[in-house]
Amino acid sequence: MSKRHLHRRPLIRSLFGSSLLMPGVLSNLLAADNPMRARQSHFAASAKRIIFIYATGGVSHIDSFDPKSTDNGHDGSGDERWMGSIFGSDRNAKCGTEVSNIFPHLRDVMDEICVIRSMKASHFDHSEATLGMHTGSATFARPSMGSWVSYGLGTVNENLPSFMVIAPFLPYGGTQVYASDFLPACHQGTRVIPGDNPIANLRSPELGRDLQDLELKLSGSMNKRHASERPFDSELAARIKSFETAFEMQQAAPEAFDVSQEPAHIRKLYGLDRKVKGPGADFAWQCLVARRLAERGVRFIELIDTGSRPNWDSHGEIKEHADLAKNVDQPTAALITDLKQRGMLDDTIVLWATEFGRTPTREGKNGRGHHRDCFSVWLAGGGFKSGHVHGTTDDIGKYTVENPVEVHDLHATVLHQMGIDHERLTFRHAGRDFRLTDVHGRILQDIIA
């Protein structure tokens, strides 16, 4: 680019930066009032960030992480409608955790994973259970887990939002799934849509950066004059700062999303260049970007594999699960391998969840219905046990037997690993101190390493 461009950049930065603008005052104001500033956790944290992978529609536990089949001696207790795992299953060689054959890559990394097989869902219907898994409430609007974490811990990189949701499609429950509700709006999830323009307004509609620089210089100096006559208003200062951040974000965000910078072996690991289509086709990109965002200090990253349809809701034909698994299995496993090899898995929680399981009995010809009495989720990294299975279900995969886990327990435990006491992370709203876990939640000590 032109020489002018080169020297204009630093000028803009210094105009907006705290060094020239009301030295001292601005940075003090910003430090005190900035709702996004990084905060101390309640106690020493095992993990600094979360990658939450959400599989939409209700993944069949029997056909994924809690296989039951006649091969393994399960007989269905004489119920002729019982249908065991139709894909077959095998154990991870090291830890022995059994996984369905449609998740071969994830099976290979099971020794890094802690599976919970005894989850109980908060509702039997998609939207409610999806909201329950995200907000702790199946009915009324409440802040999302990511918003709570952002509110509790703030962010270490203000050039990117603290809670980002990479979702090619909207899940059940719509935008409520990542809403901040009564928490300050800066803690709401920012949706990222795979493609040319992942975040709204990241790119200028027509102008070159040169013109934008000129404009920001003008409004910056006008704003500076305005603020200097109102030196006690931290909000004005914060807004001036926000333009600086936005300016940086235009660089930082596309850079974070630009997976072409990754070396060939990493792209291959995630399966980025596979020819896949259908629901979940973007998932390799989502997983790789998640790792890049995690590296850049984003506190809570959520990946939603498919939208409200088509997805894992295999009422008519459970074989649909195979195609869906094919799109997500390799990238998900790659994410764990990649985090591990970078030394990031220790302080990153990877949480994989869905809204409920599917019935062990046949629905229709060859499908499965919604099942709330038991289902599986899993966790990796973040101080959780690896190669571990928590809780059991009965022989046919219908009810939990040992260590039943409620959604609130899962939330409480995830917060705990982030150094947050779920009973102390509260927000006063409408006369009550609200929390993610409402009046419930117990820490699952058994799954913590």
């Binding site: 719509g174 809403a179 926000s242 006369g431």
Partner: protein, 819 residues
């Protein structure tokens, strides 16, 4: 298998107990020595002064023998079998057993309890009762009658313009605060115009106001005139109607998991806007929204208007997707929750599952109101497995409805009866199943569940048939409104679960607000909504006037006299100026509950027109401005920003929207939770008229702290985020409007300076200083050079240069904030 063991153990215990009874039956039981210690140790924590779970407490004689929420009596003297307490302490069902946790009572304790009851449950009067919980809470300030205090004496008599000022000035003086200077007149007209209309003043309006205030009629009168003019504009209702829409969580969709559209919702929206413009007295406004259908009317037009008003109740959120398990109790909860917060400043819905932990609202109070709405017929907007509208209220005379519907009515009636019969059966069965679930074996439970599933499936099929029939019937004009339904008192739902009905509660108003009951003739013939509406809108109700006066204050001044505008309960904030709040509430009621009168009062105070400038001395004393020594700088809200951009681009369609949104044909509705309704409709009208969905919020409104259409949005956040900055830098709509404005700038005037003045005048309500002009001219020069360098054609260069300047001005805090 699991269940049998404890039951067996209990049986053994009972057997032993009976044997013991024979042996020691004659020994007397002493209440203070034998019984009270058991209560104190094992029961009082949850059934005492702190909590009265299940509407029952064991620490005072006065209430211990009365009916609990479950509909049973804990203790029936001389009757062990009827005493629920005995059943519960013997039960091993986790849902029923008492105490719910810890060791079971000992055999000896059980024996003492039984013998005490069998012997007449003597409770000596001298036994000490614990202090009464509700007495303490009903002395809370907001439950006391509204006083009529006189404005206090102030030292600086000159300063105040009206009574409001004197209340505020008195507190400032006491705290050593000196009010800021008066605001600059341009800032003032900008503030007042956005405040009442959500739009910027035109340059002509600004200059006229300046002339009047500075010369012609003087400042005070100029402000009065300004306020009157703004209140008379249609824009006023669009602005303040939007505030009401925030509080009543207005939306154009129903919020169930498929988010069914409600094409008729706009009628209620327009009712709100018209009501504000007509200055409908607030008490009347409330009564119409709660019970407009039950009010007398002189014409069809009036009847329809009042019917449409009940759209407020119809607007309650819908949940679920199944007609056979439709959770009406959640929709009613949402109704009560909003009515409580928005109108009464009370979190009533907390009492759905248990007595309110903090406020004096019992579960009985909750179900007393619940019965009124359970007796109300809500319209059904359609749902995944019932894809048609039902029970909307016709807006044409009933004989015309009958004529149009005649060929279809018989079939619909038949199918409706079928469905209702099946639903009633399901309900009875579900309650019975829940009741026996603790006793039944797993096999029995399984069979019951299967039977119920079969029945429910039948009901669903019947629903689908009815929905199909309804879809075939011709469309008649209807409103999304309510009417009286099957009249009934509600039964308490134990722990909020509808399958576990407890005691029936007569419809009533909460104890702390007067405990009014329905007159006998009304009780049998009406839901009681009109009575409820009258109780709420009564001048004797200590909350209603205070709450609305405070809400209006909050939208004018940024922070309410009670900062928690939706919570006047014990956990809410205390008022900063309780006397002023009462004075305003009184003045409001005495002036016919006129909202416009209230605006005039507030806006013609000197405090309203204070400058927003800080003073170091004041900040040291009152950093958050709780004593209103300056005007709180306010950020333009989402609607004001968008509407202003449309005004600048000269692309605003100023006409009200009097037609429904262009939703798809009802006959084609096939929304499911997999494929929910999620259309958007472009519009050049004011933002208040944009179609609002409950499930999928618009990114723009999320970015700029728009209202949450699922709950009462008490006030708008003023967040500062980089995403907002990105909007101002890159948004396509903003760029379009800036281009259009640039065309206006360049068309009208010749010189750069004239153009600059024009741009400043329209965006910032002032002309630039010389220094600023120079900065702007430099900018234009730089931009032009740059554009020439990148080979733009000349005409395009001028447009781009001015568009660039416009965008820069739109990024100014001076634009975005009201000083």
């Amino acid at each position: 298998m699991k269940k049998i063991a404890p039951t067996f153990a209990t049986m053994v215990a009972i057997l032993l107990l009976s044997l013991a009874k024979f042996a020691i039956a004659s020994e007397p039981v002493d209440f203070s020595n034998d019984i009270q210690p058991i209560f104190a140790k094992r029961c009082i924590e949850c059934h005492g002064p702190e909590e009265q779970n299940g509407g029952m407490r064991l620490d005072q004689k006065r209430t211990v023998f009365s009916e609990a929420d479950s509909g049973h009596r804990a203790i029936v003297a001389n009757n062990v079998e009827e005493s629920e307490l005995v059943k519960r302490v013997q039960s091993s069902d986790p849902d029923n057993q008492m105490p719910p946790e810890g060791e079971r009572l000992t055999t000896k304790q059980l024996d003492l309890l039984e013998r005490w009851i069998a012997g007449g449950a003597l409770w000596p009067d001298k036994a000490i009762d614990t202090a009464n919980h509700s007495d303490a809470t009903s002395t809370h300030w907001s439950f006391l009658p509204i006083e009529s205090p006189n404005p206090p004496v102030v030292r600086d008599i000159e300063w105040s313009w009206n009574e409001i000022d004197r209340f505020l000035q008195s507190k400032r003086e006491a705290s050593g605060l000196i009010a800021s200077d008066d605001s600059d007149l341009r800032a003032l007209i900008r503030r007042a115009t956005y405040d009442l209309t959500g739009l910027p003043p035109t340059p002509d309006e600004v200059s006229e106001f300046l002339i009047e205030a500075q010369t012609a009629i003087g400042k005070k009168e100029a402000i009065e005139k300004l306020v009157d003019r703004l209140l008379s504009q249609v824009n006023y209702g669009e602005r303040w109607g939007r505030h009401w829409m925030d509080w009543v969580r207005y939306a154009d969709t129903s919020g169930d998991n498929s988010d069914y559209p409600i094409p008729e919702a706009y009628l209620y929206r327009n009712y709100i806007i018209d009501a504000f413009n007509a200055d409908l007295p607030y008490d009347r406004f409330l009564i119409e929204q709660i019970a407009g259908d039950l009010l007398p009317s002189e014409s069809l037009a009036q009847k329809n208007r009042q019917t449409i008003a009940t759209g407020y109740l119809a607007m309650a959120r819908r949940f679920g997707s199944l007609v056979e398990r439709y959770p009406w109790h959640l929709t009613i909860e949402d109704t009560i929750d909003n009515l409580g917060k928005t109108v009464l400043g009370l979190t009533l819905a907390c009492a759905r599952c248990h007595d309110h932990k903090f406020d004096p609202i019992s579960t009985r109070d909750y179900y007393g109101i619940y019965g009124i709405f359970a007796s109300t017929q809500y319209p059904m907007p359609g749902l995944e497995l019932f894809k048609a509208q039902r029970d909307f209220v016709p807006l044409i005379p009933s004989d015309e409805v009958a004529d149009v519907m005649q060929p279809f009515q018989k079939e619909i009636d038949k199918l409706e009866t079928e469905l209702e019969t099946l639903l009633a059966k399901c309900e009875t069965q579900a309650i019975e199943d829940a009741a026996v679930s603790s006793e039944a074996t797993i096999a029995e439970q399984r069979k019951r569940r299967k039977d119920l599933d079969t029945m429910m499936l039948k009901a669903r099929k019947a629903g689908e048939k009815l929905a199909e029939a309804l879809k075939k019937a011709p469309a008649i004009p209807t409103a999304y409104a309510v009417q009286d339904g099957r009249i009934q008192d509600a039964r308490i739902q134990i722990k909020g679960e509808p399958d576990r009905p407890g005691a029936a509660v007569p419809r009533k108003f909460p104890d702390v607000l007067g405990a009014f009951a329905l007159p006998e003739d009304v009780e049998a013939s009406s839901s009681g909504r009109l009575q409820l509406a009258n109780w709420i809108a009564s001048g004797k109700n200590p909350l209603t006037a205070r709450v609305i006066v405070n809400r209006v204050w909050q939208r004018h001044f940024g922070v309410g006299l009670v900062a928690s505008t939706s919570d006047f309960g014990l956990r809410g904030e205390l008022p900063s100026h309780p006397e002023l709040l009462d004075w305003l509430a009184n003045d409001f009621m005495q002036n016919g509950w006129s909202i416009k009168h209230l605006h005039r009062r507030l806006m013609t105070s000197r405090t309203y027109q204070l400058s927003s400038r800080d003073s170091k001395a004041n900040i040291a004393i009152d950093p958050t401005n709780r004593l209103y020594w300056k005007f709180n700088r306010l950020r333009l809200d989402a609607e004001s920003i968008r509407d202003t951009l449309l005004v600048l681009g000269d692309s605003l369609d100023p006409n009200p929207m009097t037609e429904p949104h262009p939703f798809p044909e009802k006959a084609n509705w096939d929304f499911t939770q997999h494929y929910p309704f999620k259309d958007d409709y472009a519009s050049q009208k004011r933002s208040v008229y944009m179609m609002t969905k409950r499930l999928t919020a618009k990114v723009y409104f999320q970015t700029f702290d728009g209202p949450d259409p699922n709950v009462c949005t008490s006030d708008r956040d003023q967040s500062v985020t980089p995403l907002q900055a990105l909007y101002f830098v890159n948004d396509a709509f903003l760029h379009d409007q800036a281009n259009l404005f640039a065309d206006r700038v360049t068309e009208g005037s010749a010189s750069d300076q004239q153009r600059l003045n024009y741009a400043f005048d329209h965006i910032l309500c002032r002309i630039p200083t010389d220094e600023e002009s120079q900065m702007m001219l430099d900018h234009l020069k730089n931009v032009r050079e740059q554009l020439v360098e990148s080979k733009h054609v000349e005409l395009e260069i001028e447009r781009q240069a001015w568009s660039s300047l416009t965008r820069s001005l739109l990024r100014l805090n001076e634009f975005l904030y009201l000083d």
